[in-house]
Subunit: 544 residues, 2 copies
Amino acid sequence: MKIALAQINPTVGDFSGNLKKILFFLKKAERGGADLCMFPEMAIPGYPARDLLFDGGFIDENLRTLERLAKQVGRTAAIVGFAARTGSRTGKGLFNAGALLHKGKVRQVFQKMLLPTYDVFDEFRYFDPAERVSLATIGRTTIGLSICEDIWNSSDFWEQRFYAADPVEMLAKKGAEMLVTISASPFVIGRRTLRHCVLKSIASRYGIPVFYVNQVGGNDQLIFDGCSIALDARGDVVAQGKAFEEDLVFAESHVAGPALPWIEEPVEENVYRALVLGVRDYAGKCGFKAAVIGLSGGIDSAVTACIAVEALGRKNVIGISMPSMYSSKASVTDARELAGSLGIRFAVIPITPLYRAYIQTLRPVFRRLRQDETEENIQARIRGTILMALSNKFGYLVLSTGNKSEVAVGYCTLYGDMTGGLSALSDVPKTLVYGLAHYINQHAEIIPQNCITKAPSAELKPGQSDQDSLPPYDVLDAVLTRYVEKREKPEEIIASGYDRKLVWDIVHSVERNEYKRNQAPPGLKVTTKAFGLGRRIPLAQKYY
Amino acid sequence: MKIALAQINPTVGDFSGNLKKILFFLKKAERGGADLCMFPEMAIPGYPARDLLFDGGFIDENLRTLERLAKQVGRTAAIVGFAARTGSRTGKGLFNAGALLHKGKVRQVFQKMLLPTYDVFDEFRYFDPAERVSLATIGRTTIGLSICEDIWNSSDFWEQRFYAADPVEMLAKKGAEMLVTISASPFVIGRRTLRHCVLKSIASRYGIPVFYVNQVGGNDQLIFDGCSIALDARGDVVAQGKAFEEDLVFAESHVAGPALPWIEEPVEENVYRALVLGVRDYAGKCGFKAAVIGLSGGIDSAVTACIAVEALGRKNVIGISMPSMYSSKASVTDARELAGSLGIRFAVIPITPLYRAYIQTLRPVFRRLRQDETEENIQARIRGTILMALSNKFGYLVLSTGNKSEVAVGYCTLYGDMTGGLSALSDVPKTLVYGLAHYINQHAEIIPQNCITKAPSAELKPGQSDQDSLPPYDVLDAVLTRYVEKREKPEEIIASGYDRKLVWDIVHSVERNEYKRNQAPPGLKVTTKAFGLGRRIPLAQKYY
């Protein structure tokens, strides 16, 4: 049997657009001689549709779209994800489901059994779990049907498992001769390799080929990377979808190898491409053509601008330098040089007169109180207001430029540099921002060397440097990775060799600045634990 | 058996504070001759602790606190909520649990079976469900043990049920002679009456007395109202805890009546008291003493100021009038009059010079483009920046003043009037804001009559009135209630007699402004569906 993996980029709620896309790929698969074409989990409504799933009209339209699609399925069968009503009077009333379509009809419907409800996932909010696994017969082959999380619970792979059931084992016991998985699995650094290991272990454990199709595209915080994969019964890779692009690949179900080499690209390349896709899709799916970025002359805004140019085209990116009296000369010249090398529009809007006007306005209430962070924040908020004014006047998306390290410890101003519709780097630690800059500059100096080499500074008071307020970034990032991503206890981090005061200072900074992140723009997720959707901390709490 | 219901106000993660509070009430119950004193669900860690539950140290300290408490329990037994490790290698690893403590020891542990995972609740994210119900014997009485949601799934009460199991029925079948429920059930308009109905139906269906203790206090968006309740075996109320306050009430387990009359206070009174508690606790638990409010002379900021004064005391509330050239004279005089009648500090900070400075600064990029909402937003953002400057300089909490109607349709400026640490009215529809104003003024004119009677206006351009951009508030609120709270489909709303274009305009405004609410301050929840935690809509979507 010839199987096509169609990794498409649906938009949540764009039923006619998603249908068109599915049909386009289906016809291509048919022309390629496929017996079966697989589409991602929730390909019809898009994933994650979140609380739109509570909207009866939304579910109706998703069902109508499935029927419309079925009518156009001919000799190439299709498997496609959608939201199915359970018809039960107990439970949530919906299944995360897949349908097998063939010759004008919905032949079979199957349901997801394992519902991820952790990190960014909330599936128990919406769905009831399948009570049993489903097999289908296509030609003479018995096929095990599964959806995403269903394959992530093998007892020989995981120490601690979220679920008691292992649907893959159940399918194998019931005689599945091959496994198909439709998925919407978001990008995370290293996830592609982990996915490969999981799939390989299934193929070799049960001696069956495995066909895995994944969604591609950005949806708010999440970036789906595609990287669909087909493995033969020995666990060797026989076909792979591209990363971060729509793609259609073919594989024969019971022909072994030749095995393709397994490689995961370097972290910097993956993260860069993920962020480009995330920015492009957020803008595109929200209806923005162009983006505006405050260029400080520093590395964060430089990397953000490069990503935006790759995502939207240089004509659709506008860089604004907003110097104050505390800005170094280089802040404007470096920003201008960057804009020149990227070929983007650039303007300088000095904020000193506005800053003076605020100080003047506030003098009657501030009297002679000494300067503190208040005045620094005013500068950042003037810049935020200016960027939003450009957004309002010209319809630009404001891209905020803060990195994960500073967002983590609150070294950023709410309504100031945190202003924006999307944050490209808020899950990228500062040390990796440097890595991205080097990746961007690998063939030519796009980012001026000075942006990379100068000491990072917020330039909000005379002679300021990040390192006056923060530990060195390599230390900060190492502690943050342990504390935020790996959830190590502070005492464990200290025991592994970090200074006690340093660790506790970082932990307290992280937890006491949750209120800022609670009002931050959505930020693209690239690590196992991003702030936002996947990390939900109460604001009023006295533990930290 | 004499039972005490101790409705306490714990703080998330404040283990020593919560323990102290529990002991204080336990001693009081002991002095009152109670055999058993009941504390709320999760009384030890506070509810909801959210992702702090993933913190191993947090769980450890919660367990140590339970042990510490057990040692001090003497002849009055205690039932108290905490987070228990399951010890299993599958699942989430935690139970939402309760412990029965007596004479220095943890005698029994029981678990919550039904885990709410809808609206503001995410319990499947953290907990595994109990596999069986638990009974305890105290003296000679067999007691059915339950936690919050466990009692909300009776098949004769609900048409559509979230869960197949009914723990109360299971307990009754196993011979429970009375039911105890420890709970953390947030306030919602009408919820108290619904709770009473549910409890009464249980008592009368099974002919057993029911003892229900509820948490009290504000935790971020959620306000827990207390209102603990004891019912005799006929379903008559025999004891009730106060609303919105800590309280300790006693009831005999098998003595019938005299039945107390059941009354729920008027909506305005309940909402007012809920918001006062929400503001007081958010400020108190986050460490703010004082709050600053932008007083526009309108009704929203007036009502917010009254709530703040009741919550924090008049010495701890600061009102700021920030007139522009578009502000009416009355905007300052009404604000000043309000500040006078409340006895709060008041300052006028005119923003016209700042506004002119922005226009001047932006002239080179805006050229001769005509004025639009950009210039209106600049005014709002200047005000936001000034309030944040006062917050930064003096440590005030900024209370944002937008109501639910305007937040729903996006008639508000991100980083402008949406600035703040907490939003008191963001779940209060405009029509109910008027109701609150009348409630506040029932005995004396605290809010100047002019704030209430004048036509609402944002005063961001000459001669502006809300009704130029929005439908009349009674119509808007009626449609919003149907669409947001009751989740009626737009076509259903139209079919019930509303204008088609009006309904679709409102629906589109709601959905297209999700990006603003996504960065809004937390807002206190008082309706069945508040924006924020309980309503999770994708930003990049093409359905609406």
